[in-house]
């Protein structure tokens, strides 16, 4: 388990308990279990308190934790008959975006999401979850197909943002994102989205313009990264704590603003400490959201999605 910066005191205690147990294994006659158990309890209490009141900047760190379940983990655990589909039929297959068809229980669905990768090699292959225009065009293609075959679409959002690169710009990053958002608004099938880690700006909106948007408790969703915001408005990238605070990027704030519909609770200590439980919780939420929308006609689905976004922002945060 990789500890985050603010988890250092916790790491120390857990480290001590581990040391004691290692000592006991080396000298079987010493009995340290009582002490070690006390340390365990202390660590558990600390974990509980830490995660009960995470600051927005701490949530950003949790949302980016490398051990959090990623798109691929959810797909493998929640879907059967998973069949990845590749390519934008135009230029390339963007590995930062996973897409394909499979079954959620018995229901055929299309799933699209950003995948960040889990080790150095896969991270480079996946471009750290930063999609290029091909990724958005693959998503557009798959949403169109979902629409034709009346399959609900599930999107899993986890991206620092769309890739800011030379080739991406040349091939129309803006246009690809705009068209993907437009396609989200057009399809006559239920579209549900879960922000599972980082919801980074336009790169996230292109997938998350959905009938229902759920968000994991410690994930974040923002117009700009706190670091980026700090360097522009504070002229100092080190002011990311202040920026994270001001941007209102946590699930609680976004629910209050009506930008997201549901918050999915994470296990104690965050999704990275119990991946299975997190994946199951997200699965339950996705099934429920799809089920509740499945009775609507094509027109109703499009109309309610449009209305939702047109009305968005009519309420601010309470003073």
């Amino acid at each position: 388990m990789q500890y985050l910066e603010f988890e250092k005191p916790l790491a120390e205690i857990e480290g001590k308990a581990e040391e004691l147990r290692a000592m006991a294994r080396a000298n079987p006659e010493t009995n340290v279990e009582k002490e070690a158990a006390a340390l365990d309890k202390k660590a558990a209490d600390m974990l509980g308190t830490l995660y009960k009141s995470l600051s927005p900047w701490q949530k950003c760190q949790v949302a980016r934790h490398p051990d959090r379940p990623h798109c691929k983990d959810y797909i493998e655990a929640l879907l059967t008959d998973w069949t990845p589909l590749a390519g934008d039929r135009n230029f390339a297959d963007d590995q930062a975006v996973m897409g394909g068809i499979g079954r959620l229980d018995d229901r055929p669905v299309v799933v699209i999401g950003q995948e960040k990768g889990h080790d150095t090699q896969s991270r480079i292959e996946r471009n750290f979850g930063m999609a290029r225009p091909e990724g958005y065009r693959k998503a557009i293609r798959l949403m169109e197909m979902a629409d034709r075959f009346s399959m609900p679409v599930v999107t899993l959002v986890d991206t620092p943002g769309a890739y800011p690169g030379k080739g991406a710009e040349e091939r129309g990053q803006s246009e690809a994102i705009a068209r993907s958002t437009e396609m989200c608004l057009k399809i006559g099938v239920p579209l549900v989205s879960v922000i599972i880690g980082e919801g980074g700006s336009g790169g996230a909106v292109a997938f998350a313009t959905a009938n229902r948007v759920a968000m994991l408790e410690h994930s974040v969703y923002s117009v700009i990264s706190p670091e980026g915001c700090a360097s522009i408005l504070w002229k100092d990238a080190e002011k990311m704590r202040e920026a994270a605070e001001a941007l209102r990027l946590t699930a609680d704030d976004l629910k209050q603003l009506g930008v997201i519909d549901r918050i999915v609770k994470e296990p104690k200590g965050g999704a990275q400490r119990d991946r299975t439980a997190t994946i199951e919780a997200v699965g339950r939420e996705v099934r429920d959201m799809v089920e509740k929308l499945s009775g609507l006609s094509r027109d109703e689905i499009v109309r309610e999605r449009r209305k939702k976004f047109l009305n968005m922002g009519s309420k601010g945060l309470a003073a």
Binding site: E169, S174, A178, E182, L185, K186, S222, G316, A319
Partner: protein, 316 residues
């Protein structure tokens, strides 16, 4: 009146005002550095007379140049909640807003108007880069929705002039939500069978480019306008290499298939008229001014008319 108000105060005032005047007379072209006299610059539509760089132009000035006789009617835009997040960086957001309002004399970063261009009825929306970088927040979203609804109600084409640094950070996620919101608005126009034409002006970047600015039936850009999703500085930091000359400029985007046309500001009106009339199935616009109605026979002045009969008498 005593001598303080009659003599001293005017002298003090004149001392201060005299200092302010020269600053506004000259503008330095940001591209070539030429100093341009303000009247000359305005006569040339805010285009540099030396290098043809298209400088910013306020929405109101643009509309005065665009609409016939400079006549247009503002389309009202619903006012959103001010400062929905209670955002505070080094300054309070409401203070930044007030400063921008004072500097531009406008309520917000977008102006919507209806009127005629060469007798072609249109609805137009223009973004104001000088208002907080033209950034897209709730108001800009409301403006585009208002423009789209007006265009649909009047069955007119919508012409949008974009200019923005991107989303309004001070409105956080709500500024991001303007991407889908404005997309819904654009689709309302398209579904009503009406043309949606985007004129991309310098600069159009970020979330604005990645939503309504790239969804037009026709994309026209002003020469040399910077148009991108990620700005050149961000890209240079990411890939750690210098970008080529002209990267992400209008001509470059034209080469890469993202634009239909790059058009000089002086030719823009004629081009917009031609395109909208073609797409709306209207006959070509009449070039130039309509011929003046024939000179009516000069009316005989009232008095001589009365005096005429005696004259006739005299002739007889």
């Amino acid at each position: 009146m005593n001598w303080i108000s009659n003599y001293v105060r005017p002298r003090i005032n004149s001392l201060f005002s005299r200092r302010e005047v020269p600053e506004n007379l000259w503008t330095k072209c940001p591209e070539c550095g030429t100093m341009l006299f303000h009247r000359e610059l305005a006569d040339n539509l805010n285009v540099c007379t030396n290098c043809d760089h298209h400088m910013g132009i306020s929405p109101r000035d643009r509309f005065r140049l665009l609409f016939d006789g400079g006549i247009f009617t503002d389309v009202p835009v619903p006012q959103p909640t001010t400062d929905p997040l209670h955002f505070r960086d080094q300054k309070r957001y409401p203070d930044r807003l007030k400063a921008a309002q004072k500097a531009t004399g406008e309520a917000e970063a977008m102006l919507v108007a209806e009127g005629e261009i060469s007798r072609t009825p249109i609805v137009a929306a223009a973004q104001d880069f000088s208002f907080m970088g033209g950034s897209m927040g709730m108001y800009v979203g409301n403006a585009i929705i208002a423009a789209a609804e007006r265009a649909v109600a009047l069955k007119r084409p919508l012409i949008l002039f974009s200019a923005a640094g991107g989303a309004r950070m001070q409105e956080g996620i709500l500024s991001l939500m303007q991407m889908p919101r404005t997309t819904v608005a654009v689709d309302m126009v398209k579904e009503a069978g009406l043309p949606y034409i985007v004129v991309l002006t310098h600069p159009t970047t970020g979330g604005v480019t990645a939503s309504y600015a790239m969804l037009g039936d026709v994309h026209i850009a002003e020469p040399n306008a910077l148009i991108c999703f990620a700005g050149p500085r961000v890209i240079e930091q990411t890939i750690r290499e210098k970008l080529p000359e002209g990267f992400q400029r209008a001509e470059y985007l034209l080469d890469h298939g993202m634009l239909d046309r790059v058009t000089h500001r002086r030719d823009l009106k004629e081009e917009l008229v031609r395109i909208t009339r073609l797409l709306m199935g209207l006959p070509p616009a009449i070039a130039g001014d309509l011929p003046k109605p024939e000179e009516p026979e000069p009316l005989a002045p009232a008095e001589p008319a009365e005096a005429a009969p005696p004259k006739a008498d005299a002739a007889e």
